[in-house]
Chain length 125, copies 2
DNA sequence: CGGTATCCTAGTAGATACTG
DNA sequence: CAGTATCTACTAGGATACCG
């Protein structure tokens, strides 16, 4: 794959979307941040609810995804500049506008993918 | 949080969704099939509209994605069993139910990702 | 606490050639 | 026409150690 701009300019938002959410935890991160700002370790811990095959998330991975989401303008990073470090991540307006899309995905997934165990409904979040 | 038996049943449809659409062309394929059945080469040609950096799609890749979508129950493969070969792919009911989700994605993407170049709007399909 | 620096593995996609 | 076989390049993700 050559270019980064080709996906956006091709008139196909789907490809751009695919690239935007490429990353194992990105959708979950945005979803988890809808309730308010969270710190780095809170996000990491939150992602372990129903962990997807791994017992712990490599910090390198989480760091990269958070950075990507920040550059894509979905989340905002707030460094308090104190010791010990305190950093909060929160949704931007763009990020908040994306939450309903994730809700649609979750809604569909709950109906078609989690037939046996719809423990927490979308509305119950 | 209720109990989770498997990765899919973890109350996180998002992860299952991510896995389901993992593949460069899956969303596009489903989207393109909403107008009716298409043959293998029609799908390939259709995917080249606004090609994402490549002039041609490796048959191996398209084949794998079609197979995966079939196994996931989103599309159905109909082999006419003639020579020369004729195979049609069409959406299943599950696949059709997924179209609105893609529409939501496209809609969001058109507003937030394709600000400069919204050549073909969602409604213009 | 919130990362970064390395190293490693596995999977995804592309190119190309070939087949029923 | 609709794929399969093979080989290669790239990258996402994981493990681990360490730093500001």
């Amino acid at each position: 794959m050559a270019n980064a701009k080709s996906a956006q300019a091709c008139g196909c938002p789907v490809a751009a979307f695919q690239k935007m959410i490429s990353g194992k935890y990105k959708l979950r991160i945005v979803w988890d941040l809808q309730d308010g700002p969270k710190r780095y370790s809170e996000i990491r811990t939150g992602l372990l609810r129903g962990s997807s095959g791994s017992a712990v998330i490599a910090p390198r991975v989480l760091s990269r995804e958070l950075k990507a989401l920040t550059e894509q303008g979905l989340i905002d990073r707030k460094d308090f500049g104190v010791v010990p470090p305190k950093v909060e991540y929160r949704l931007t307006r763009k990020g908040k506008s994306f939450v309903p899309v994730i809700a649609a995905i979750r809604n569909w997934g709950a109906r078609h993918l989690a037939e046996a165990n719809a423990d927490q409904m979308v509305a119950a979040e």
